[in-house]
C-alpha cells in the first residue's frame, strides 16, 4: 500500500515534526500523521481491515486498537493522529492492545463462514493472515452463524458473498470517495448490515474491480476470476497497462502461460493504487484470434509461410515500389514506434508515416510537432492535483483516460481545483468532478476557447492552471490553434491526452511525418544530420511527407505504392471507405499484426508480432513519463514489431542498428533531448458550426466495442447504456419518443432516447458501442449533421 501522511505527500521542510514513541522506538514525523502510519514507518504492522491510506478513516473495524499512555481506553491507530511525546504501545508490547485486538478478531470471525478452502481470497487474505497473527487459536462462539444466500451479483462483473464481509466499508468508501459512484452502499443495520445496491441499479462503475482488490476478505470477487486459481499458484509480474494513455502500473498474474488476472499496482505518482475495469479485465484478447505464423498472399489467398520466405517476399515487394507509406497503430511501445520511424526514413527513404490511424488533421500534426513531441514533462498527475483550475477540451476523462479522471476527482474533491469542460454536454464524469460546462456546440469549440468567460481566463492565469486537450481536438477546426493561443495568453500549461497507450510514445519516437525522434523537426538540417548519424545512414528524406487522410488519399490515387502497417484497425478511421480503398489500392501491403483483422485480410504479407505480455518495452503516458515494462512470459517466442522490422531491413540489405529494447533505448538515449528550433505552430482559423437542426457530439465510451475488449462478456455487461442523449427541450421537440432513429450519410441507427444535460440541438452518441458504430453505420463525426426522427 502507499504510505502517505495525512499532512499530504509534500514533505517539505516547513512541515512541523513531532516525536512519537511506538513500542519504545521514537520517530520524528509530521504533525497530523496517523498512529498507524507512524508505526508503519517503524516497520511495526498493526493489524487492520477498514484502514486504507487512500480512503478517509472510519475506525469501524476496531482491529487496530492500540494502547496510548494517558488514554484510558484503547484507541484506533487508523484514526488517531500523533501528538508530540505520545507513547503508543501496540500489540507487540501492550497486553491491553493485544487483548483488544484478539477480542475484535474473535468477534470478526463469529459470523465469518471460515470457508477459506473454497475462497478466492485464501492465501492472500488479510483476515486469514491476521487471524493467524492477531487472533486466538480457538473461538468460544457456539451459537448459530448468520447466513446469507451467496453469492449475489452487485454487477455483472462483481459478486458479493455477504457472509464473508466484515463491514469494513472499504468498497463503499471507494465507490463514493474515489470513483464517485455511490451505487454500492452499506444497507440494513446492526448484525444485518450488508453491502448492496439499489434494487434496480447495479454497481456499474468503471472502477468496480478495485473493490475486489481492496476487499480485505473474500466478500467481493469478480466473475472473470472467480474460482480460476489460488494466489499461491500464480506468478506475478509487474507491467504497464496497454489500453489508454493513463499509464497505470499493473500486476499481471499468470499460470501455465495464461494470464489469470490483472491487478492495479502501487504507483503513487501515477495510478496510486487504482486502475479501471478495462485495464483490469480486458486481457483475454491477448490469446484469441492470434496470427500464428507469417502469411503470404498467393493466387489471391493468404497462406502460411516460413519466416525466411515471408521476409523475402516482403523485402522484394517493398523494394519494387518506388514510394512507401507507414501506418503505425496507437498501441505501439516507444521502442516499436521508433523502429517504424527509423525503418520509414532509413530503409524506405520515406517520410510518409503516421501513428494517428484515427480522426486526424494537419492542424493537429502541426500542434503535436510544435508543442507536444519531445517536450519536457510539465503537467503530471501530482501537479494536476494542485492545479487551481483545469479546462478540458475535446476530452472526457472518465471515458478517455480514467486515471486522469480519478486524479482530477481527487483534486476537485479536495476543494482546491475547479474543473471546466468546453463541450456540448455535462457528462457523468464532469458532474462527478463538480465541473462546470462551458457550452460549445460541436464545431464551435475553437471560437468558444478564444472567447472564454473572463472568470475562467483569470483562473487559467493562476500559476499551475492546466488546459487538458484530448485527441479529439483533431476533429475541431482551429481547435489546436485556439488552445495554443489560450495557453500563450494565460500562461496555463497544455497537457495533450491521447486515448491510446502508444500515441504519446509514437509521437516522441518520430512516427509522424515531418518529425524525427525527440521532437526534432525533419526540416531542420542539424536535427536531420544528428539522427542520420545515429542511424548510420548518409541522409534522410528532407521533405515532410504525407500523413493522415492525405497519406491514404495518395495511396488511393496511386502516388504511394507500398504500405507497411503495424497494429491498426481500419474501423478506427472516420472515413472507413477511404481506409479500405487505400489498402486495396496499394500495390503491396506488409502488415505486422498480432490478430487477424480487416487489414490482415487485405495484406500481401502478414508478420505475427508480440502482444504486450510477450515483449518488453515502454509506454509513454500522457504526462510524457516513460512507463517501462518487462516481458511477462519470458519464454514467449513471438517477436516484437521492432525485431521483425530489423529482420525485414536486413532482408532488404539495409541494416539499421538495434532492434532489441535495450539497444533501442540506448540509441534513443544517445540522441538525447532536442534543444533546437521546434516545428512551426498551426495557425488555422476557427471552424464554423454546421447549420443543421441536429449535430452529433461523440466520443468513445471506456467500455465499448474496442477489439481489445473482446472475449470479456462480464466487462461488456457493465458498459454504460447505449442511447441517444438530448436536452429536455430537444427531446420535447422530437415529441419525446422512447426511441429515435438517427440518420447520417451512410445509414440509420435506432436507439433509446434519453434526456441529459446537453445543449439544445445536439445529440450525444457513443462512437463505437454495441449497436452504435457511428463511422460505420452513420458515417458521421462530431460536429456533423444528422437527422432524427421518431422510431418506427
Amino acid at each position: 500500500m502507499t504510505i502517505t501522511s495525512n499532512a499530504g505527500s509534500d514533505l517539505t521542510p516547513q512541515v512541523e515534526l513531532v516525536t512519537v514513541v511506538v513500542d519504545g522506538v521514537a520517530i520524528e514525523i509530521p504533525k497530523g500523521t496517523l498512529v498507524i502510519r507512524a508505526a508503519e514507518l517503524l516497520g511495526i504492522e498493526i493489524p487492520r481491515f477498514c484502514d486504507h491510506p487512500l480512503l478517509e478513516p472510519v475506525a469501524a473495524c476496531r482491529m487496530c486498537l492500540v494502547d496510548i499512555e494517558g488514554v484510558p481506553k484503547p484507541q484506533p491507530a487508523c484514526a488517531q493522529v500523533v501528538s508530540d511525546g505520545m507513547q503508543v504501545r501496540t500489540q507487540l508490547t501492550s497486553p491491553i492492545a493485544r487483548d483488544a485486538q484478539e477480542g475484535v478478531m474473535e468477534f470478526l470471525l463469529l459470523n465469518h463462514p471460515l470457508d477459506c478452502p473454497v475462497c478466492d481470497k485464501g492465501g492472500e487474505c488479510p483476515l486469514q493472515n491476521q487471524a493467524m497473527s492477531a487472533g486466538r487459536p480457538e473461538s468460544r462462539f457456539e451459537e448459530v452463524k448468520r447466513t446469507f444466500p451467496k453469492p449475489i451479483n452487485v454487477s455483472a462483473q462483481i459478486l458479493l458473498d455477504r457472509e464473508r464481509c466484515v463491514s469494513c466499508a472499504r468498497c463503499t468508501r471507494f465507490a463514493d470517495q474515489i470513483a464517485g459512484d455511490p451505487m454500492l452502499e452499506l444497507l440494513e443495520r446492526g448484525s444485518n448490515q450488508q453491502v448492496g445496491t439499489a434494487a434496480d441499479q447495479p454497481f456499474d462503475s468503471y472502477f468496480s474491480g478495485n473493490t475486489v482488490q481492496i476487499c480485505p476478505v473474500g466478500a467481493l470477487t469478480s466473475a472473470a476470476y472467480r474460482f480460476r486459481s489460488r494466489p499461491f499458484d500464480l506468478v506475478s509480474v509487474p507491467t504497464t497497462c496497454e489500453h489508454c494513455a493513463s499509464g497505470c502500473s499493473l500486476r499481471t498474474d499468470h499460470r501455465r502461460g495464461t494470464v489469470t488476472r490483472r491487478l492495479a499496482w502501487d504507483e503513487p505518482a501515477v495510478n496510486e493504487e487504482w486502475n479501471c475495469d478495462k485495464g483490469r479485465f480486458a486481457f483475454t484478447y491477448q490469446e484469441q484470434g492470434r496470427v500464428a505464423t507469417p502469411l503470404i498472399r498467393e493466387d489471391g489467398n493468404l497462406r502460411p509461410a516460413s519466416w525466411p520466405e515471408a521476409l523475402d517476399v516482403a523485402a522484394r515487394g517493398l523494394a519494387a515500389a518506388t514510394s512507401h507509406g507507414v501506418l503505425v497503430g496507437g498501441r505501439s511501445t516507444v521502442e516499436d514506434a521508433y523502429a517504424y520511424a527509423r525503418f520509414a526514413r532509413a530503409v524506405l527513404q520515406s517520410d510518409n508515416i503516421d501513428f494517428r490511424v484515427r480522426d486526424s488533421s494537419d492542424e493537429e500534426a502541426q500542434f503535436l510537432r510544435s508543442s507536444v513531441a519531445g517536450t519536457a514533462v510539465r503537467t503530471t498527475y501530482e501537479s494536476l492535483e494542485k492545479a487551481p483550475a483545469v479546462v478540458l477540451i475535446a476530452f472526457e476523462p472518465e471515458d478517455e483516460s480514467p486515471i486522469v479522471f480519478l486524479r482530477l476527482r481527487k483534486a476537485a474533491r479536495g476543494g482546491g481545483t475547479r474543473v471546466y469542460s468546453v463541450g456540448a454536454a455535462v457528462t457523468r464524469g464532469l458532474s462527478k468532478l463538480a465541473g462546470t460546462l462551458i457550452p460549445a456546440k460541436p464545431g464551435a469549440e475553437a471560437s468558444v476557447l478564444t472567447d472564454l468567460p473572463a472568470k475562467v481566463r483569470a483562473e487559467l492565469s493562476t500559476p499551475g492552471a492546466v488546459i487538458m486537450v484530448g485527441e479529439r481536438i483533431a476533429g475541431i477546426e482551429g481547435g489546436a490553434t485556439a488552445v495554443l493561443e489560450l495557453a500563450r495568453s494565460t500562461g496555463a500549461s497544455i497537457a495533450w491526452v491521447p486515448r491510446r497507450a502508444g500515441e504519446r510514445g509514437a509521437l516522441d519516437a518520430g512516427a509522424l511525418a515531418g518529425l524525427l525522434p525527440g521532437g526534432r523537426p525533419l526540416s531542420d538540417d542539424l536535427a536531420r544530420g544528428a539522427v542520420a548519424a545515429c542511424w548510420g545512414v548518409e541522409s534522410l528524406p528532407a521533405t515532410t511527407g504525407l500523413a493522415g487522410e492525405s497519406l491514404l488519399r495518395a495511396v488511393t490515387g496511386g502516388g504511394i505504392g507500398a504500405l507497411i502497417t503495424g497494429g491498426i484497425e481500419l474501423a478506427d478511421l472516420p472515413d472507413q471507405a477511404l481506409g479500405r480503398a487505400a489498402i486495396e489500392a496499394a500495390a503491396f501491403v506488409v502488415a505486422l499484426e498480432n490478430h487477424h483483422s480487416a487489414i490482415t485480410e487485405l495484406a500481401d504479407v502478414v508478420f505475427p508480432v508480440a502482444v504486450v505480455t510477450e515483449k518488453s518495452g515502454t509506454f509513454m503516458n500522457w504526462e510524457g513519463r516513460p512507463r517501462p515494462f518487462a516481458q511477462t512470459f519470458k519464454d514467449a517466442l513471438v517477436m516484437s514489431d521492432a525485431i521483425v522490422l530489423g529482420m525485414l531491413a536486413r532482408a532488404m540489405n539495409a541494416p539499421i542498428g538495434a532492434s532489441d529494447v535495450a539497444g533501442i533505448r540506448q540509441e534513443l538515449g544517445s540522441l538525447g533531448a532536442w534543444a533546437g528550433a521546434r516545428a512551426e505552430e498551426p495557425n488555422t482559423p476557427a471552424g464554423q458550426v454546421v447549420d443543421a437542426a441536429y449535430l452529433v457530439s461523440t466520443w468513445r465510451a471506456l467500455i465499448d466495442n474496442g477489439v481489445m475488449q473482446e472475449g470479456e462478456p462480464y466487462l461488456a455487461a457493465t458498459a454504460h447504456a447505449v442511447a441517444a442523449t438530448c436536452s429536455a427541450v430537444t427531446v420535447a421537440d422530437l415529441g419525446a419518443p422512447e426511441n429515435v432513429t438517427v440518420t447520417g450519410p451512410l445509414g440509420s441507427l435506432t436507439l433509446p432516447l434519453l434526456i441529459g444535460d446537453v445543449l439544445d440541438g445536439v445529440v450525444c452518441l457513443p462512437l463505437n458501442s454495441p449497436g452504435c458504430a457511428l463511422y460505420r453505420d452513420l458515417g458521421v463525426r462530431s460536429g456533423q449533421a444528422v437527422t432524427i426522427g421518431g422510431a418506427v
Partner: protein, 219 residues
C-alpha cells in the same frame, strides 16, 4: 409509477426546508410510505431523483431505520412494546394476545391486509406500561383484552381514540403527518393524562412548590 408528480412536488418542497436538500430524506421516505404503504423501489428512485443522489444511497437509508417497511403494512400498524419494562409488565401477554387474534407474528401483515403487527422498542411511555401503538399513536396501559378490543373495533371500522392523541386514522395518514406535522389534529385528544400530572397533583395537595426567586436576582 406510484409516485405522482404531486408527490414529487411535495418532496421538492420538503427538500427546500433545509439548508442542504438531502436532510429531507427521512421525511421524504415517510411521505413515500404515506402514498405507497411501504418504501417502494419507485419511491426510492423518486427520492434519489429529487435529491440528485443514487438510488443505492437512498436504499442505504431506507433500510437503516425501523419505521421504513419493505413490504406493505396494510391499513393499521399495531406495535406492542416488548422491551424489558413494558414486556415484563404485561406487554408480552398483550403481544401474544394480538398475535393470536390476528394470526400473525411480528413484522407480518394479517391475511386481510388490515393489520401489521410488530414488537416495538421503548416508546418513551414507560410510565404507561404496557404500551401499545396504533399507527404510532399511543394506546397506553393496555391489557391483552383491551388491546384485542382495540383491533376488533378497528376491524369493524369503529372509531378508536388514542389515549394521548387523536382518533386513529390509518398508517398512511400518520406517515403523512411525519412529513407534514401541521395536520390540524394538534387539538384532538388529551395529550396530558393523570400519570403525567401525578407528581404535580401530589405537590399541589401537599403544598410543595418550587423555591421563590431570590430578591434582586431575576434578570
Amino acid at each position: 409509477m406510484t409516485i405522482s408528480e404531486a408527490t414529487r412536488d411535495q418532496m421538492r418542497d420538503l427538500a427546500a426546508r433545509y439548508p442542504k436538500s438531502r436532510s429531507a430524506l427521512l421525511p421524504m421516505l415517510h411521505l413515500v410510505q404515506s402514498v405507497d404503504n411501504e418504501v417502494t423501489a419507485d419511491g426510492i428512485n423518486a427520492c434519489a431523483e429529487v435529491l440528485g443522489i443514487t438510488s443505492a444511497e437512498v436504499t442505504a437509508v431506507a433500510t437503516f431505520y425501523t419505521m421504513y417497511k419493505r413490504k406493505p403494512v396494510g391499513k393499521h400498524h399495531v406495535g406492542v412494546c416488548t422491551n424489558t419494562l413494558c414486556g415484563l409488565l404485561g406487554g408480552d401477554a398483550v403481544y401474544a394476545a394480538l398475535s393470536e387474534r390476528l394470526g400473525i407474528e411480528s413484522n407480518e401483515q394479517s391475511a386481510d391486509g388490515v393489520f401489521w403487527l410488530e414488537r416495538i422498542e421503548c416508546q418513551a411511555a414507560c410510565t404507561h406500561a404496557p404500551v401499545m401503538t396504533v399507527d404510532w399513536e399511543y394506546m397506553d396501559d393496555v391489557t391483552p383484552a383491551s388491546a384485542v378490543d382495540v383491533v376488533d373495533r378497528l376491524a369493524r371500522g369503529e372509531q378508536v381514540a388514542s389515549t394521548r392523541g387523536p382518533v386513529i386514522r390509518d398508517f398512511q395518514a400518520t406517515e403523512h403527518t411525519l412529513a407534514y406535522p401541521l395536520d390540524g389534529l394538534v387539538n384532538e385528544g388529551e395529550a396530558v393524562d393523570a400519570k403525567m400530572l401525578v407528581g404535580l397533583r401530589i405537590a399541589q395537595e401537599r403544598g410543595m412548590s418550587a423555591a421563590p426567586v431570590p430578591a434582586g436576582d431575576a434578570s
